[in-house]
Amino acid sequence: MKHPNTSSNSRRSFFAKSAALFGAAALADKVLLAQTTPGTGTSTDIDVLNYALALEHLEAAFYVQGVGRYSAADLNSSIYAPVFGSKITSNFVPYLTAIRDHEVAHVATLQQVIRSLGGTPVEACTYNFRINNASEFLSTAMMLENLGVQAYAGAINMIQSADIKRAAATIAMVEARHASYLNFVNGQLPAPAAFDMAKSRSEVLAMASAFITSCPSGGGPTTNPAGPTISGLSTTVNTLDREVQFNFAGSAAPDGSAVSFMFQQVSGPTTSVIGERTSTPRVILTGGRGTYVFELVVMDGRGNRQTGRTTVVYS
């Protein structure tokens, strides 16, 4: 491995052209850890770049799989789409496609830079994102982008080269823009705090490993922790009332991380669901007497999901 501070001129011009480098995406694995043994005490820039590359591989794979899979119609039937006007809904596909292209560009740029420094870029792994519908696609995208921002914020000060540090910043900002957008379309605050969190490499790897099935060198994490448990969801609810209040607050993740909720109607006459992203959604059976089916998805901080359904009989 050449020290990154050599060949500064060629790198500078490279960066000037590509306007960037490294990233902030979301992920890493044992292959990465095995291939990037840190030197004496501090990570070399190539190590950090490969860490970023592993995350970008994950993100790129996620969007390459998902963007083609979900049509505009699918995305417009996702859980939050009904509250948005056409300014937002008509841009689901173009914006998600742009994000995909960004992540693919980040991968290509990182690979080039790592090679230019004399390093070997880590390869992509095989991933399983456990996505079943457009709503899950959007919520997992949100989780990955926010993780990417935190990874970047935690890694940027490990970079020695000033050029690479600046290039890393230009990618990190884009990941933060993605995260802001995805928070918004998932009904979350685009910028929830005055400071983003910086996560350590091990914290990021622990979260990212949940999506890795296997890696080329055979060393990817294999344990996918059990998903969260659902509490408060009955198979059947019989009601004489037009409104039904649910309480899933007892749902929990095995690792103690915070859980999030999505509660949506699957079938039946028209309803209005209030607080579908809270632990205590309320359903108004505006369609009158009949049989309604709802689905609850509980997701933990690692992206693991538990899904359950309830049939509400209004008579």
Partner: protein, 226 residues
């Protein structure tokens, strides 16, 4: 929509070019002077970089404080930008457009928090934070024009941080700067989204030098000085 695009088209000139030849020369001279004083003896210190960031955060905080005093939540519901954004949704409170005001209050609070954090850090390093100033001057008559200026300020802030972060020496300050910078990028993306622009126009954000940023900020200085 038409009006909105007109607003977008006319406002960026305030950031990208200077308002007049005379002002432009003064501004360029001032920017060069500040840039060189920040670079005194070719030494950019962490304190001088933090004071540079502080200027931009003061500018942003002042911008939102002024604008949110002038416009009410209801004003944002009548902006051109709010067309086709959506107007129903229980998870956002009354409406998405109503939520815009709430998000802007939050963004204002973030900028004020950044100001205080930077002042504290500068003092911790033994430096003197630049004096706060409420006299910054922004030109807008409608919420649409206000949002267009905000979008420019946020995008400019992002490119300022991206351009300066590699000059910070203290590794901890690098992390702090990064965690502020990505929040500015979130603000920028949000303002772009609600006003109909792509939240992320490029795979790589541009970087700007101190002098470019100070020139861009000059039209907003009002009675404040760099």
């Amino acid at each position: 929509m038409m009006q909105q695009h007109q607003a977008e088209a006319s406002l960026p000139k305030k950031l990208d070019t200077s308002p007049s030849m005379a002002t432009s020369a003064v501004v360029a001279a001032g920017a060069a002077m500040l840039a060189s004083s920040l670079h005194a003896q070719n030494t950019v210190t962490d304190v001088s970089l933090l004071n540079y960031a502080l200027l931009l955060e003061q500018l942003e905080a002042n911008f939102y404080t002024q604008g949110l005093r002038r416009f009410s939540s209801a004003d944002f519901n009548t902006g051109n930008f709010s067309q086709n954004l959506g107007n129903a949704g229980d998870f956002y409170g009354d409406s998405i457009t109503g939520d815009v005001y709430g998000n802007l209050l939050l963004i204002r609070n973030h900028e004020q928090t950044h100001v205080r954090a930077l002042e504290r850090t500068i003092r911790t390093l033994g430096g003197t934070p630049r004096t706060n100033c409420n006299g910054f001057s922004f030109t807008y008559n409608t919420v649409d024009e206000f949002l267009a200026v905000g979008k420019l300020l946020e995008d400019t802030g992002v490119s300022a941080y991206a351009g300066a972060i590699n000059m910070i020496r203290d590794p901890q300050l690098v992390t702090t700067a990064a965690t502020i910078a990505t929040v500015e990028a979130r603000h920028a993306a949000y303002l772009r989204l609600i006003t109909g622009d792509s939240p992320f126009p490029s795979a790589f954000d541009p970087t700007k030098t101190m002098q470019e940023i100070l020139t861009a900020a000059a039209p907003f200085l009002g009675s404040c000085t760099v």
